[in-house]
């Protein structure tokens, strides 16, 4: 099971009005664990008012920078990103899991590839890591970045990208698309949608020459770009996706406090929600799991190993008390948030309400 390790904050640099770049260092004994591949992300955890929040942020450093850096853009109402933007300071420690993610292609020093990247807002962070690494380690390859932002002063890493253009003259180009600011060329104003993609392919991009395309941004932009790339002949295998941080779940609600007294008895009134449909039935207090009871009542609840190992059958207890016989798959924070493995969950209270939809 993935484990958290403390990272020391060695630098916090303000990148734009609402984004910071945080440099981090692992302890000496954890150094190998935090070796990363370009395009990967780190998952952090922190306690906010007694509730653990986890957030993932992409590494923006290239492999040759010799350090870990993440870009954190403040999201309205986001507890973690606001805290990072306003409170994080050098010398602080923060818990992180080792780098994860598959948003990259293997580096081949002799490759002569054409890469195309699309970034929306802070979706630039993993792309920056990829761009820096590819340009440094694949001297024969070229990279074109299409970078969408609302306006000029919200562009993250604008100067760093300019420096890269100068450093790798002729091998790296950037097309800035700005939603709210007119530019000399109309094509570069507005949002990236299907029409804009078609126009980009007409005038600026050669679909046939592209080996791999990377997309990181919000959902509608990913759909529009992926659709257009496929229309222009790219295969699924040539398109690499990283869904933007906005896809992460909102703040997890703390577990509902049980209102049922745990009283001895033979039966439990169970209410189970699956795919938006809710069914209520009586089940035995002993000898029958919530999963088995749901299946016996013709619900197509997901499960696999039935041994508390795989976590396919995870559900959330909304009301009542249940007890798991074994748990080899859920982490403490999931259990605290009310999740149980339904194949191992026996009801303790007179009434139990669970959902597979949350």
């Amino acid at each position: 099971m993935a484990r958290f390790h403390p990272l020391k904050v060695t630098d916090v640099r303000r990148e734009t009005r609402d984004a910071v770049v945080v440099t981090l260092a692992p302890r000496d004994e954890d150094r190998a664990l935090f070796d990363f591949t370009q395009g990967q992300y780190l998952t952090f955890r922190r306690d906010f008012d007694g509730e653990e929040l986890r957030r993932s942020y992409s590494i923006c450093a290239g492999l040759d920078e010799g350090c870990l850096k993440v870009g954190i853009k403040r999201v309205d109402g986001g507890a973690f990103s606001t805290w990072a933007n306003e409170n994080l300071a050098p010398g602080d420690e923060i818990d992180a899991m080792p780098p994860m993610g598959k948003f990259y292609t293997p580096i081949e020093a002799g490759a002569e590839k054409q890469y195309l990247g699309f970034a929306g807002g802070s979706g630039i962070t993993p792309l920056l890591s990829i761009i820096k690494t590819v340009l440094a380690r694949e001297p024969g390859s070229q990279f074109t970045l299409v970078y969408a932002n609302r306006q000029i002063n919200t562009i993250m890493f604008r100067e760093e990208l300019d420096d890269l253009k100068n450093l790798y003259l002729g091998r790296f180009s950037v097309i800035h698309v700005l939603e709210q600011e007119g530019q000399e060329i109309d094509l570069f104003t507005g949002r990236i949608d299907a029409d804009k993609m078609t126009a980009l392919f007409q005038h600026w991009l050669d679909a046939k020459s592209i080996d791999t395309a990377f997309i990181c941004g919000p959902e509608p932009m990913m759909l529009a770009i992926a659709g257009s790339l496929k229309e222009h002949g790219l295969t699924e295998a040539q398109i690499k996706f990283e869904l933007f941080a906005s896809g992460q779940h909102g703040r997890a609600k703390a577990r509902a406090v049980s209102r049922d007294a745990i009283v001895p008895g033979a039966g439990t009134a169970a209410t189970v929600t699956l795919d938006g449909a809710t069914r209520s039935f009586e089940m035995a207090r002993q000898g029958e799991t919530i999963l088995d009871a749901a299946i016996a009542n013709n619900m197509d609840a997901p499960y696999s190993c039935k041994a508390g190992v795989c976590s396919t059958c995870r559900c959330k207890v909304i009301e009542g008390e249940v007890e798991m016989a074994v748990n080899h798959a859920l982490e403490d924070y999931e259990v605290r948030a009310g999740y149980v493995l339904s194949c191992q969950a026996y009801p303790l209270s007179e009434r139990v309400v669970v959902s597979y939809d949350e």
């Binding site: 609302r150 919000p218 509608p220 990913m222 759909l223 996706f241 906005s246 197509d300 997901p302």
Partner: protein, 248 residues
Amino acid sequence: MSETMNIEEYLAQGGVLTAPENVPARYRGELLRLMSSFVDSELAASAGFAASINYAPGIKERIAASRITLEKADHAERVLSVMADFGTDTARYETQHDWAARVGRDEDLGGTRTGGDMRLSVLHYPITGWIDAVVLNVLQGLATGVQMTELTRVSYAPLAEVFRDIAPREARHAELGLEGLERIAANDPDAARASIAYWQLRVAVGFGCLASTRYDILARFGLRHTPNETLLARWQALVTERLAAIGL
């Protein structure tokens, strides 16, 4: 670019998910169910084929059977590592079931999952000899080839990538089988036909219920794209064509 959309809507339009953190609860359940079914099937297939190595009549066949045994276990491990990102305890998972266990040759399991693991029901039946092993490998291998056209398109990108790596090697397993079956067809066509009659129906069951209600949910999640009926028909046509080509 702060414009976002509901994740279900995004999936319904063909969107791709990239990490456990951005996967909704029901999607998570169905994704894990799909992965564990694949892992269990590969482990059971590998375990079943291991015994067939000793049925092999020659060195070439022995190498082919060994390779299939090895690579199916390797494919199981690759998908299991994607499950691990969701919390699955892989060390316990690998030893959870007796992957070599089989039922009686004449039992009829239908399409139900039995014995606690999620392997395809066809992989519960025992292999009786070399011809039998080759025939099962051909029929199930062609079925896997058809299923791979679905699996390589699943909306969970890290899994789709694993399947895209696996697909050519699974296709090679079926090709190895067809090469072997061609030799058998020339020497002992009756035994081959008897074995085909035994396995064909049992492999067909693996395509799942027709008019499946679960399919609709999976399709909405982008975990399936083609209905069971279509895949089954595609496999049947493929089997007819390939067997006819070698005179069976």
